[in-house]
Subunit: 350 residues, 2 copies
Amino acid sequence: MRIDQLESPAAVVDLDRLSANINRLQLYLDEHKLANRPHIKTHKIPEIAHMQVDAGAVGITCQKLGEAEVMARSGIKDIFLPYNLLGAAKLERLMHLARRVRISVTGDSDVTVRGYAAAAKVAGLTLPVLVEFDTGLGRCGVQTPQEAADLARLIARSTHLHFGGLMTYPSNEQTDGFAAETRRLLAVDGIPVETVSAGGSPALWQAHTHAEVTEHRAGTYVYGDRSLINSGIMGQEEVAFHVIATVVSRPTSERAVLDAGSKALSSDGARGASGYGLILEYPDAQIEKLNEEHGWVDLSACARKPEIGERVTLIVNHCCVANNLFNEIVGHRQGEVEVVWPVAARGLLQ
Amino acid sequence: MRIDQLESPAAVVDLDRLSANINRLQLYLDEHKLANRPHIKTHKIPEIAHMQVDAGAVGITCQKLGEAEVMARSGIKDIFLPYNLLGAAKLERLMHLARRVRISVTGDSDVTVRGYAAAAKVAGLTLPVLVEFDTGLGRCGVQTPQEAADLARLIARSTHLHFGGLMTYPSNEQTDGFAAETRRLLAVDGIPVETVSAGGSPALWQAHTHAEVTEHRAGTYVYGDRSLINSGIMGQEEVAFHVIATVVSRPTSERAVLDAGSKALSSDGARGASGYGLILEYPDAQIEKLNEEHGWVDLSACARKPEIGERVTLIVNHCCVANNLFNEIVGHRQGEVEVVWPVAARGLLQ
């Protein structure tokens, strides 16, 4: 079966490009002696996670416990959760996982760390915990090296926890300074900082410029999207993920309507671009607005215009959220369908 | 089990409010002798669709063939698809459905109508087709009463199609004029306009002011969200749909981070409001930014501030897209869990 025969909207992944993207990152990180721990929130598909591990990743990153449970069930052995996990139910699930695979977690507060310590004690396990630090994003994370060192000491003092190092997102010009200062503060107590885990796809090829960083977490690179193209991380011809849509209406000479809306593409914008996706066959068309199942396309800048019933191929603004809207992703090689993957880890509990 | 015990993020529906919302709309439309054909894209849950039909709806509206297939399998007997369905595969599925339930569809072009005619002929069925018209939204739909009448004549002339009337979204001040003029043009040929179906929740309580309209399609009213509150359609105390989230980080005195991001709430904005949701317990807090699994909350306007681990209750900007991001919706009465519904019709084929 060819992808031309799939009903639209369909989310398709070019398997050759997928492999090439996986290998390109692995080679780059290997060359720079950085551990690769790809973030599976982009695809949520066990087989792709295994492709990443088989290529040389030390393990994977999951954003939710539900994702980690799916990945562990699929045979992935080393999972990092860069997220504060709170509450008895989640901590119990975490301990169940920790009995079966190597799982490491993150904390940025005493509350989170004490929760891990209590749960690990009951379970009789030793849980590796990394301290999240914030170097300007302004999301989670301790704000100063002193806070990071204090929290690291709390972890190191906890019988059932192991201080696994530091974690941040994204890598930036403050990352090294913050990590080095924390390392210096902890050296006094003889507490080593084993790992400094940083991440992000938008600054992927600068990962090696951060001397303190030992591990990189990237997600989006595996598929690619408009944001990554506009960040200069990859070319249009390297993007593996596309949404196939159909022109369902041409109500005026300047307008087309697609059967892909915010429930196929999401309302996320793209770095450095307007509109809701790039139409490969009509690059001058502008997807100017989305409703849930309609994409509004302004054709006024197009010399040639699509007909009703014509199929088009979109590069989405943000592949991680688009992938998350489909039940199934179709893998193909040069247009020939090879596999249909359920998006196994989507829509699950945090 | 209480909803307080659910792991976050969780999407919950207050069943008493849900029933009240269903009944309030039905009473209003009954009073004004308008047929009620609620749009199930909001919830995608068969049991809620049955509640709507049991309350007096003439049938339901689905936006996708995949939704209609789920609803037909659940025993719903009358389904309207206000969408141009194109291509052999979809038309075959449509005919399969049309053998089992009363299904009516929409066209705004010759291409779409000829597709319906050919498929219905092969299937030996008569398919009701409504003509979509555009009175200012600028999405799909024929642009003039003359175009509407021409397309209606094409439908009426097709042996295996039945001209079912006119369809638009949303109802506005041009709706009546457009419908009346089309009716006048068709009267010459003795073609009656049986139904004028209009829709939308944002102008719900003005549905009766459109003299030509015979049927109303509303979706969002069943749950409610920030957009409907800000449109004056319902009060905060009538909203049935909430997302429960947990404060996972308090990195600074002015900031909290929630475990609900764009994969729980979507990036959709709300009519007349900034931010990504209303926190009931902290109405002065501003959800200023979302990442996939993080909600960034600015607490600077809050006198009282939440602790790490505290659970909060959100009214979302747009309930239809938020509902679509969860695998399951939890129905409760005064906080006591009564049912867990799979979102059966989500993520499916168009």
